[in-house]
Subunit: 231 residues, 2 copies
């Protein structure tokens, strides 16, 4: 493996592979193997199969532990926005993995090095290699440094409703009771508008309006989140 | 929890739960919760979400380790025939799990206790509970007693081809070289039939015929497997 990459893994993430063959396999695309049939090298597809399952479990466990109030349907939805091509390919790029994968010449010419599907597979292969080399705890360690903080600060929470997002955000520092209070109803009966205020620990965080109380609560939570996150 | 069930778990699988709340949650269907809203009980959906991911990883790892020659596509296919409603619901039934789940009266009347989707979820919930209570090693222990031997003896291998199945079967006791030899061609040129013999360690295991050499090899492998497995 490239020495520069090994140093980067060590410096950025504190990772030192014991068996470099796992890492080598993870960073070998099938297009490279096809051009070196005589060399008996293995592409990263099997190790990606394993990495995908490792990621599913580690992320599921994180969500299960940190979102005790979320029902199964929302957990599944949230996991799907995290463990997906769009997000994993960005992680692979962010960590510079794209620079070190071995590609065939055809794939290289077709700009494969920047293809999201390829980068996503590469991220999962890396997870698979780390798991094979050092077990699931090492994967958790890596995710605690990289992915989990992003989940905690709501980077994937757009699939959840604003009230849930606000709760998650505020609960980072421990349990907290959030209150929604109807403070006004305006307009004629057939076109009423509700105004709701949201507060926690006796402090008003924001307010919002809507055609139903529920919509007004969502709007209040959204405004509160914007204010808090822009501080 | 039912004492009889706790004894069954201990006697059949050597499993004793430390925290019975996990087991209770795993064996509580949402229809039961809906009928007992005042009791603040939790249905098994969140724990099933976790169990599903635990099962994906444990089965993936087993396949990865035991089928070193299978490409990713076949691993995925094989895993899908194992971790699926049809097979997991049968496991749940085989272990008598169906007797102990708490259902609502409506679900009970609709014969929910025998519904494959419900039984499959129940199996995954049980895995989730075992994982939360005792970690992934305990799940592996359970699978080594129950599921993995079935995989090893080919219960799910119908998705693979006969040659692969034969190889897997014979490789249970270590690496082995399997040879296919064309021993005859019969019939006129436009309707030729090939006869192939398969052998390992110098011993003929079976033979088969087909319109192509490939088909004859598959047929020979199928016949060899039948003979070996009926011994």
């Amino acid at each position: 493996m490239n020495e520069l990459f090994l140093n980067e893994l060590k410096e950025k993430f504190g990772i030192t592979f014991k068996n470099l063959a796992f890492l080598q396999e993870a960073f070998t695309h099938s297009s490279y193997v096809n051009e070196h049939r005589d060399c008996k090298i293995q592409d990263n597809e099997r190790i990606e199969f394993l990495g995908d399952a490792v990621l599913e479990l580690t992320v599921s466990r994180y969500l299960f532990d940190h979102y005790p109030e979320l029902p199964e349907g929302k957990l599944t939805k949230l996991r799907a926005t995290i463990v997906c091509e769009a997000s994993l390919s960005l992680f692979a790029k962010e960590y510079g993995f794209d620079k070190y994968i071995r590609l065939g010449r055809g794939e290289e010419r077709m700009n494969g090095r920047n293809r999201p599907a390829l980068l996503c597979d590469l991220y999962e292969s890396f997870i698979g290699a780390l798991y094979l080399d050092q077990g699931i705890e090492a994967v958790l360690d890596f995710l605690r440094q990289t992915m989990f903080p992003k989940i905690a600060t709501g980077a994937f929470s757009h699939v959840m409703d604003h009230k849930t997002n606000l709760q998650e955000w505020l609960q980072q520092d421990g349990e907290i009771i959030i209150e929604y209070r109807l403070i006004d109803e305006v307009g004629p009966a057939h076109e009423k508008e509700f105004i709701v205020e949201v507060s926690a620990k006796g402090k008003v965080l924001g307010s919002g309006s809507g055609k139903t109380k529920k919509a007004a609560e969502q709007s209040a939570a959204e405004n509160a989140l914007k204010t808090i996150q822009s501080r």
